[in-house]
Symmetry: C2
Subunit: 364 residues, 2 copies
């Protein structure tokens, strides 16, 4: 298995300081990713994600808790395996891009179930892009045609380079066909991936992008029921990696595509609300990715089959990412110490801690 | 109204740095509380809490999302008023005390609904103790007998001094009758409240503690269905402030007391799961505190009436506390700047930010 971790490691960073929570800033996350190497990071992270999908039944699962507004959504995504607890705060605001802000920002926390104490706080904007791409690649490993080398990448925003690199690192994809309604977004991806070993074609339309692609990744950002991909553009035998349809009212695929595909999902109760299948009746048949990974059900079983990963992002994937970062952090020095937890000498004497702080102020 | 805030103030701390989230450490929270003064802090915070109860219907409300384990619970408590979003992470682990850890630790986040960006991260262990006490006092202001001066305080752990000071600051309570199964806990409270202007009696039993008390506060920590207070100890006309029964399997009052009382709650769907009324049938009648505050329903209406505030702690109270801290922070310097949000020059160029960081490393 890819980059498997030692599940028995519960508290790798032992500060012996009860008040301290290690914090990974954006700057330190970038340093960590660069130190490990993006493709190695994606490959090892995919290993953790796959490992946690494999023990799917040991997780406490719940659809994310969403607070919707006119402009976007703020979500909390908690999960626990009984030993560790993790959650992510993440927003989704498509209009942010026009204001110079990120569509998606995130941070996450890992905690010890036994004590309830947080043990890690980290930026997750970059980490979410990495884990989303790694999850797509894990799914494609089981669902895409054997030896798929060409991927159409429709939507060339913040996520697209990460998707490309994960598919390269984990599946060996080395040819990209790029399309975005904004050609400057495509130019950005071409510039950023220069020297990464891809053969890249800049396409003028979705039609052109899908030609010859065994994998089609849709990762557009507009919050609406869009039809990025119509049925006539989907040839037999391909794998569709549908990333962008991930909240109520936001889809990318024409429903006829769903009717012709085998649809694989992370956590059905959440995907039925947020994924492409929100267009379909409540009993629309789906297959669960974790069961494909454990071998309980078949993934791809036919050369002409259209497989569709209706990705919305699930809490266990963030949990895997938090575990991975925690393990990588040891000895790296790439974190700060946050004085986040009140730690009176005597646990019941919280007020006394305040009094002693006052005394200290007076004495100094 | 107490310490009313200006609701129109959305972003008081304007960093003009998109990546930065202000962080209030435990140390800075203590400094802030001491600078304001504990009783003033409690009074002003109670004003914010009351104000938010008054506009109860404008909040997006949901029972907290709990992850239960054998030893305790980890909870996320989100809410939003459509302009601000707030949530608290909080654990409850009664056994922690025996291991030198806090039963309850917490931190919280305030965010801007329009952009989804977090705007404040703060410790909330101390702040939760303050907001719980302030909420109790707000409820008692409407429910306790007029001119109640004597409070029995049963359970003398981490919350008890805060409860005492809130009732002093907001209701004028100046006599305390203390009891804890562990006399050293009571001694701690006596020591800590020396010079605070209370007449304090150390009692040998619950029976002794409740004698002559117009308000009885129960705030014990054991996770079990305990009977701290039995029916025969509850005289007519008193107000019971029941704090400790706040999660499934954790109650403090004999059910006969509930049958004789008018029971006031924060958010019924949550209290029926977590409060004293978890002992009662699903249709057990309760009154909502916010309706008492707005005047829609009566609070205390009879000298012989037993009023019971079945407090479990609700997300809007933490939201009020986050708002209050944010407003108090301006110009105080009592926060650090956390580099928590990825902020590429071009929002769609998240990967490019990573590349530029790499280039910077190579050049340096």
């Amino acid at each position: 298995m890819l980059g498997e971790s030692d599940l028995s490691k519960n508290a790798v960073i032992d500060f012996n300081k009860l008040n301290i929570v290690p914090f990974v800033s954006v700057d330190n996350m970038m340093k960590l990713v660069l130190k490990v190497g993006v493709e190695t990071f994606l490959t090892e992270l995919a290993g953790y994600i796959e490992e946690d999908f494999r023990r799917w039944e040991s997780f406490d699962k719940t659809p994310r808790v969403a607070s919707h507004s006119r402009e976007g959504v703020i979500e909390l995504m908690p999960t626990s395996d009984g030993t560790l607890y993790g959650f992510k705060y993440v927003n989704g605001h498509p209009k942010n891009t026009h204001e110079g802000l990120q569509t998606v920002t995130a941070f996450g926390v890992l905690a010890d179930v036994d004590s309830g104490y947080p043990t890690l706080l980290t930026e997750m904007t970059i980490l979410t892009a990495l884990r989303t791409a790694a999850t797509s690649a894990v799914a494609a490993k089981y669902l895409a045609p054997q030896n798929a080398k060409t991927m159409a990448l429709i939507g060339n925003g913040a996520q697209s380079e990460f998707q490309a690199l994960a598919f390269k690192a984990i599946l060996g994809v080395d040819e990209l066909r790029l399309y975005d309604i904004d050609p400057s977004a495509t130019d950005k991806v071409i510039r950023n991936l220069e020297g990464s070993g891809f053969k890249i074609t800049k396409c003028k339309s979705v039609e052109e992008a899908v030609v010859g692609a065994q994998i089609v990744t849709t990762v557009t950002a507009d919050k609406l029921n869009a039809t990025i991909l119509t049925d006539n553009l989907v040839g037999s035998g391909i794998h569709i990696n549908a990333i962008g349809g991930d909240c109520p009212g936001k889809t990318e695929l024409h429903r006829d595509i769903l009717l012709r595909s085998d649809v694989f999902v992370e956590y059905p109760p959440q995907t039925r609300i947020e994924g492409e299948i929100q267009q379909m009746p409540e009993d629309f048949p789906v297959k669960e990715l974790w069961q494909v990974i454990t071998g309980e059900i078949e993934g791809r079983n036919d050369d002409r089959q259209i497989t569709l990963f209706d990705s919305v992002g699930f809490a266990t994937e963030d949990f895997s990412a938090l575990r991975y970062v925690r393990d990588k952090l040891t000895g790296s020095g790439l974190y700060e110490e946050l004085d986040m937890l009140a730690d009176p000498d005597e646990p019941r004497d919280l007020y006394g801690m305040l009094l002693r702080a006052e005394q200290k102020q007076k004495n100094s």
